[in-house]
Symmetry: C2
Subunit: 289 residues, 2 copies
């Protein structure tokens, strides 16, 4: 165990930093996401100013082309040991910065997929709960691009990305489907969307119902918003968790609640682990000797 | 047959006007779409200025809440006679304006759907080609919101909306999938998208491949754009035209070519009718005595 270290999860839209001293996290900070940053090195130096640490360990987009240094992806099946061995160390304004690799995989149909940051949460969750590392859990990490990761023998065996969060934001915020922010009717719309997801060949064919139901059935724009959420998350669950008994959700509470409800609708149990705690636990694995 | 009449198809994004004299279209104009117009009455009066006609016949969003006057939807199965009988006549700055109803339907699962304007093209196509009116053709009208309409005994029996065009615009233009406008690789991407649509349970699960393939397989942003187009249109065709031998495409050439290629990929023949000619033919049905 070293002295003070800074741990960081640097995503496209935000940076989360933790100061670790004596094996414990003692302070937390937020900073800007990598997307759109003109100078990521400068942003990092500013974000850690005043913290007295000789080493920074970063995961996420820090290792992307737009980040501090491009770090090659680790191929699935991925062990936490290989992941740690893939750390790239650079020097930056007198600091030693270690950047974790992301993970890539290719499914049986040849489809490529990538993640940067979510692997940290999965490895962190496995360290958290040895039962998960011994079993064959299916994880979902909801977000802009949600990741569904299969773990076997403590490794990330494979994973698949669904762009549900981004799709919802685009459709609810920028489309002609007229989904409004007023929450009136939203819960009822969410339930209707889940039911539709269970019923139809694809979510795509029911998206327009969000608009048509406002004309034909007097639904509110809030209902339409809920409907889109239920339809998209329900379609994702139906496709990626068939015949599954339990799924482990790693994420923030509001989204986790939606995924838990969608999983329950399809008869699947879930347990939720806090996304930030899992990220911290994963980064600690990288920092520990 | 009356004297001079103005025919118009007023959509959300543009207005198309034709001056009809002696039973023939003699002039054509374009104007602004209904979406975002502060004063649709004024916009119409300005758009027809200088044309000497006592009557205007309009279809599309002119009959929507945001248009000149809300005209109730006609329910499926919809005949062209009932559609014509549903015309609402208003007076506007000395002009007699007839506004056509849209059409609504509900499928066996209770899903509502609506169209305003596309019914004009379908009825126009049927008038164009008596063989279509006698058969049971399946029409696709590609666009921002593409409509798939089943015709039987000369009626619009049912239809379904797929928001493929809007989805493509949002994903290719505003998402994190990094689909670029440079056409390099686009045709190859389109073919790969069609193949993926045939292969997968849903288009949703492969959207992220547009991004991952750039990291893992060195694909270009143009390839990603083509891939998204092929994946979305392919998914639509696969879902809405199973076991179909022929589909009639009504639309503009560039989109029609894409749909024709997607249909051919799934072993379905297609013929294409020009969307604007079909709209004119449909409006003429409303104008004829």
């Amino acid at each position: 165990m070293s002295g003070e270290t800074i741990l960081g999860d640097w995503g496209g839209s935000h940076l989360r930093l933790w100061l670790r001293a004596g094996g414990k996290v003692v302070e937390r900070r937020d900073g800007p996401g990598i997307a759109g940053l003109a100078d990521s090195e400068l942003a990092l130096v500013e974000a850690v100013e005043g913290w007295d640490a000789a080493r920074i360990v970063l995961c996420g987009m820090a290792g992307s082309r737009a980040g501090l240094r491009e770090v090659p992806y680790l191929e699935c099946p991925a062990t936490s040991e290989a992941w740690k061995a893939g750390l790239v160390e650079i020097q930056l304004a007198g600091l030693s910065v270690a950047i974790a690799p992301g993970v890539c995989c290719r499914d049986e149909k040849g489809r490529p997929d990538v993640m940067r940051g979510e692997e940290t949460q999965v490895f962190g969750a496995l360290g958290f709960d040895p039962d998960l590392a011994r079993g064959e859990p299916l994880f979902v990490l909801p977000g802009t691009h949600s990741k569904w990761a299969k773990v076997k023998d403590g490794r990330i065996a494979s994973f698949r990305t669904f762009i549900t969060g981004e799709m919802f934001a685009l459709l609810a915020g920028s489309s002609l489907l007229s989904a409004g922010k007023d929450p009136a009717g939203e819960a009822e719309g969410f339930a209707a969307g889940l039911a539709r997801a269970a019923d139809m060949a694809s979510a795509m064919s029911s998206l327009f119902e969000a608009r048509a139901a406002q004309f034909c059935d007097g639904r509110t724009a809030g209902w339409a918003r809920g409907f889109l959420s239920g339809l998209l998350i329900g379609g994702e669950v139906r496709e990626l968790a068939p015949a599954q008994r339990q799924v482990v959700i790693v994420g923030e509470p509001e989204l986790a609640t939606r995924y838990s409800a969608a999983l329950a609708y399809f008869g699947i149990e879930s347990r939720t682990l806090d996304g930030e705690l899992c990220a911290m636990a994963g980064l600690e694995l990288l920092d520990d000797d």
